[in-house]
Symmetry: D2
Subunit: 344 residues, 4 copies
C-alpha cells in the first residue's frame, strides 16, 4: 500500500509515521506539506534521522490521487476544503481533524467557529469509532476519525447506554488529558513553566467534543440528552482518563454493567475490561492503541462510576486512524499496531 | 507564643515549620519525635540548615503541657491516643490527622480501619474549617483540622447547599490531587517512575474523606444525602482541583450562585471568587493559603459546575492549622500566612 | 520606600512582586508597562487577585524619578536604552536584564546581538553579585543584577579561585536549569509536550553567560582563562544545579576548599556550605534566596567537584535584586527575604 | 527461539517483554520468579493484560537449560550466584545486572559491596557493548550487558579515545539520568514528591559505573587513566544525556572527531551522529534502541564537548540485551528493535 500524510509535522502526523514505519503492509510513505516543500523531514525532527529522511512533497491534488490512503492530520478548517475534491479519485480518505465529525454544519460552525465542509462531503463521511462502526468504515469515502476525548468516553459508555443500564439524563463526564492534546503549536496554555506542577479546567461547557459525544450517543445508543462534559489539563504529555458518573437504572447491578462491556468487546482486541483495580491509570496504555475500561457501582448512592483510559495520540488519534485503514483494507485490525504499552 | 509540633518530619510538619518560622507571634518552636530524639532536624532536611538546626525532642506529656499550642501532624491512629491526656493541661491542640474529624466512632473504624479516639475527646473536638466554624474553633480544646480534599470541596459547595441553590441528591464531586497528599512514606503508588506521566483514579468509592464531607454538609448546610466523591492522582507535587456537578434548583441562576459565594466570603481574606476564567488552575494558589472558587451554569443542562483549587499542604493542612491557631489567639487570620502564591 | 517595576509581567517581575508584597519597608509598589496601560494586573495574573489589583501604569521618565528604586526586568536591549536617562534623577536603578553586566560593549554586541548601552552608563553600573561587591553596590547608580547561571557558578567558585586552590585553566562548568529561565514567552523550546520527559543541551559554547562568568572571575579572583561552560534544560520549572570540575592545585586538600568557602561566607546568611551530602539537590533552596554549595575532592583523580544550587528566579534574579536593594538602603540583607525553601 | 527471563518484574524485565513480545523470532517467552510462582503476570502489571497473561514459573536450573536464551535482570548479587551453574548447559546467558561486568573481583567487591561471581565464570563472560565487541559476543557463554551510563558514555568516547584525538587525562564526564535507572523499588530517593521539580547529584565519585567505564576504555581504546564521572537525577522517567569534556590533542580539529565517529559507526544502525544541533536531547531516542551523538570543539578553549543520549531502559538495558541476542543467533541486529522513538 502507498500512503500519504498531509499535516505530518503535527503530533498526529508524527504518530502516524511512528506506526506506519513498521506497518508490514506499507510500501511507500510520503509526507505532504503546504509550506516546507523539499525539506528533509528529519532535519526538522531529529528523532526520525535514518528512519525517515525523505523530503516533504508539495500538496497537489493529481498526485494525491495515486495513493491508496491519504491521512489528513491538519488543523480545523483545512481538510474540509481539501478532501471533497479527492472523493472518488482513488484514495481512501481518513481525516484526523474535526472537520467531518459533526453531521450538522450549523453545529460545526457554532462549536468550531469555522466554515463547515460541503454538505455532500459530510454526508459521504463516516464516523470512525472502529469498534462501533466497522461495516460503515469499510466502505466509507471519508472516515472522520473520532476526537481523543470522545474515543475514551464513548467506548466506555456506549455499551451501558445502548442497553439502557445507566441514566443518560444525569450523565456527568469529567475528563483529564495530557498536554499533547493541544498540539504542537506553542502558546501560553502549553508553556512548560505555566503548565508543569499545575492542573487546570479549561473551555468549561464550551469544548467542541460535546456535540460529537452527544451525536454518537444518539447514533449508536439511540439516547438523546444534553450531557455535562468537562475537560482538564494535567501536567503530562500523553494520556486521557475519563471519569463518568450516572445513576444505574432500576434493577441494574454492577455485574450487568461489566457483562455488557465484556460482551460488547469480546472480539475487539484493543478494548480491555479491567474488573479489579486498586488504581486505574493512563500509563496502562501509554504509547499503545488500547482503551482500558473499569466500572464500579457505589451501593451508597446507586450510581456507577465508569473510568476509561487511552493514549490520546494513539487510540485517540493516529492508532485508531490506522486501525480504520486496516478495516478498510480487510487487514487484521491489529496489523502494525501490536505495540505493548510502555507503562514506565 | 511557644509552639510544639509532633510529627514534624511529615509534609504537614514541614509546612508548619515553613510558615511558623516567619510567623511574627512565635517565640519558640520545638519539634517532637518518637524515634529520632536528639538528632539535629536540619541533618535530615538540608533545606532547613541555618533555619532550624535544633535537636528533636522526646515526646513527654509533662513537657508538652508547657506550650501554648501543640500541633499534631501524625499518621492516623496516633493523635487519637496521644491528645486526650493533654486536654485541659494548657496547650491548645490542633490535630492535622484525621483522628478527630468524624464524630461517630463507628464511622471512623469503618473508613480508617483503626481504633477511634475516646468518645469524650471526640466530643470536645471541633471541626476546623475556619471560614465556617470560627466561634467554635476559638474555644475548642481540640481542633480537628479538615482533610485536604474536604477543604477544597466544602468551601466551594457549602454556600450553595446552605442556601438550597443546588441539588445535593445529584451531587458529584471529582477531585484531582498532587502526589504530596500521600505523604512522605515511599510506596509503589508514589514511586516517581510509576507516577510521572500518569493520571490515576484510586480508592474508588472508598476514600475516608467521603464521610467527612457528608458530615460537614450536614453540620453546616443541614443537607443529608450520600454523595459521589472520587479522587485522582495527577503527576504534580502540590495542589488540589475539585470539580463538582449538581443541578441548580428551580429558579436559580448562575448569578445566584456567584452572589451566594461572594456574600459568604466577603470578609474572609483567603477565599477568592473568580468570576471569569478561560482557564482555572491549581498554580493560582501554589504555596499559599488561598482557596479560589469558580462556578458556571450550563444553560444546555441547567447544571452547575463548581471548581475550587487549594494547595493541599497549605489551605489543605498546615496553613489552615495556623489560621485556626490565629483564630484561637485572637490574631488577624492572615498573620504569618501572607505568602503570595508562586504561580510559576 | 516607593518602588517601581518595569517589566512586571515577566517571571522576574512576578517574583519581585511576590517578595516585595511582604517586604516590611515597602510603602508603595507600582508596575509599569509599555503596552498594557490601565489594565488591572490581577486580570492577567489571577494568582495576584486581592493581592495586587492595581492598574498598570505607563512608563513616563518624569514619573519614574519619583521612586526610591526602579527595578527593570525587561528583555535584553530595553533597559540599555531606558535607564541611562534616569541616572542621577533620584531612584536607585536595579537592572535584572543582561544589558549592564558586560563592561566591554563589543563583547555585549558579540554575545547578545544587540546594541549595547552607552559606555558612560555601563561605566556607572556595578555588578550586583551581592556577597562579593557590597561596598560598590551600596553607592552604585545602576546595579547590574547577575545572571542566574553566573550567580550559581560564581558563588561556588570564586573563593576557590581567589585563593588559587583550583586550576582555572582546566575549569569545566556543567550547568542544569529548569525551564523558567527561558522566560514567559512561549516557543517550541519551552512547549510542554517537547520539554517534559526530556533533558537537552542547548546553545553549546554560545551562551551569553560565558563572558559574564569570565569577567567576574577576572574581577573578583584575578584569574584569566577561557572557561568551558555548558547549559542544559531539565524538565522542571525552577532551579539551577551547577557542577564544576577542576584539578586542585599542588598541596591543596578538600579541607582547604571547604575552609575557604566557610570563611568567605561566614557572615553571609544566604550562602550555605553543605559538608556532607548523599544527595545534593535544587529543592533544598526552592522558592528561597539561598545558594547551597558542596565540594568534594576525588583522591583517584585529584580533581575537585564543586556543586551549587539556587532557585534561578530568586537568588538568580528577583531575590538577589531585592538583596541588593537592601544593601543600598542599609537594611539587613535578609529583610523581606526570609522565606523558607519549599523543599516539596 | 525459546526465551526465559529471570527478574521480569523489574523495569529491565518489563522492557524485555515489551520488545520480545513482537520479536519475530521468539516462539516462547517464559518468566521466572523466586517469590511469585504461579501468579498471572498481568495481575501485577495491568498494562500487560491480554498481552502476557501467563503465570510466573519457579526458577529450576534443569528447566532453565531447555531455553535458547536466558536473560537475567536481577539486582546485584543474584546472577553471580545463579548463572555459573548454567554455563555450558545449553542456553545463551545474557545478564543485565552488573555482576559480570568487572573482570577484577576485588574491584567488584569494592564498588558493589557484594560477593563477586566465581572467577572462572567471570572469565567466560564477555562485555556486551554490541558495537564494539560483536565477534566476542557471538561466541560468549555469558554476555555482561553494559550499564546504562557506560553505554551512553562509551559509544560516544571510544572512537575519539581509540584514535587518540582527545586527552583522556583531563576527561570529565557529567551524566544526567531519568529516575527509572533506580529501578522499581520505592525509596526516599525515588519518592515522587521529593524527586519531581528537582535535580540532584548523587553518589559523588562513588558510582559503580566508574570502574566499568575505565575498564572498557582500557579494553577498547587502550588508554589508562582515572576519569571523573558524575551522575545526576533529573525529574523524568527515561533517558540519559552524558556530556563529556576533554582537550583535543595537538592538530586535531572538530572535523577529525566527527569523521572518527562517522567512520566507526557507518555500519551500525543504532548509533546516529548528529552534526548540527541547536538543541540535543533525550527525547530524540525515547523508547527506542538508538544512541545519538553530537560533538563540538570550542575554539576558545580547544576543548571538545561530546554529548550522547540513550533511553536508559532500551539501549542502556533491554534493547541492547536483545541486540546482543540477535548477534548471538546471527539475526540482523535490528530484528525486533525497529521501534521509532516517541519524541513526544
Amino acid at each position: 500500500m502507498n500512503v500519504g500524510i498531509i499535516g505530518a509535522t503535527g503530533y498526529g502526523g508524527l504518530e502516524l509515521i511512528r506506526f506506519l514505519h513498521t506497518h508490514p503492509e506499507i510500501e511507500k510513505l510520503d509526507l505532504f506539506t503546504s509550506s516546507d516543500e523539499g525539506n528533509k523531514f528529519s532535519n526538522k525532527y531529529t528523532h526520525l534521522m535514518n528512519i525517515y529522511d525523505e523530503p516533504l512533497l508539495k500538496i497537489e491534488p493529481d498526485r494525491l490521487s495515486e495513493y491508496d490512503v491519504i491521512f489528513t492530520s491538519t488543523p480545523s478548517g483545512v481538510s474540509s476544503q481539501l478532501l471533497p475534491s479527492l472523493i472518488d479519485k482513488g484514495p481512501k480518505l481518513i481525516d484526523l481533524s474535526g472537520d467531518f465529525r459533526l453531521k450538522d454544519p450549523l453545529q460545526y460552525e457554532q462549536w468550531y467557529k469555522k466554515t463547515p465542509a460541503p454538505i455532500e462531503a459530510i454526508q459521504k463521511s463516516v464516523y470512525g469509532l472502529t469498534e462501533w462502526n466497522e461495516a460503515e468504515i469499510q466502505k466509507a469515502d471519508i472516515v472522520a476519525n473520532p476526537g481523543c476525548y470522545p474515543t475514551a468516553v464513548l467506548l466506555s459508555l456506549l455499551p451501558l447506554l445502548k442497553e439502557n443500564l445507566i441514566d443518560v439524563k444525569h450523565l456527568i463526564i469529567d475528563a483529564k488529558s495530557g498536554i499533547s492534546g493541544a498540539g504542537n503549536k506553542p502558546s501560553q496554555m502549553t508553556h512548560f513553566s505555566e503548565t508543569n506542577e499545575n492542573t487546570a479546567i479549561y473551555k468549561l461547557h464550551q469544548h467542541q467534543h460535546i456535540p460529537e459525544i452527544e451525536q454518537a450517543i444518539n447514533l449508536f445508543a439511540n439516547q438523546t440528552s444534553p450531557i455535562t462534559f468537562t475537560t482538564h489539563l494535567v501536567p503530562m504529555t500523553r494520556g486521557i482518563l475519563a471519569t463518568s458518573y450516572a445513576p444505574v437504572n432500576e434493577g441494574v447491578t454492577e455485574k450487568h454493567l461489566i457483562d455488557a462491556l465484556q460482551v460488547t468487546y469480546a472480539n475487539h482486541p484493543f478494548v480491555r475490561i479491567i474488573k479489579e483495580a486498586n488504581k486505574f491509570e493512563t500509563n496502562q496504555v501509554y504509547g499503545s492503541n488500547y482503551c482500558d475500561i473499569h466500572v464500579k457501582v457505589d451501593p451508597r448512592t446507586n450510581r456507577a462510576t465508569v473510568v476509561s483510559v487511552i493514549d490520546n495520540l494513539v487510540k485517540g488519534a493516529a492508532g485508531q486512524a490506522i486501525q480504520n485503514m486496516n478495516v478498510q483494507f480487510n487487514l487484521d485490525q491489529t496489523t502494525g499496531l501490536k505495540h505493548v504499552p510502555l507503562f514506565i
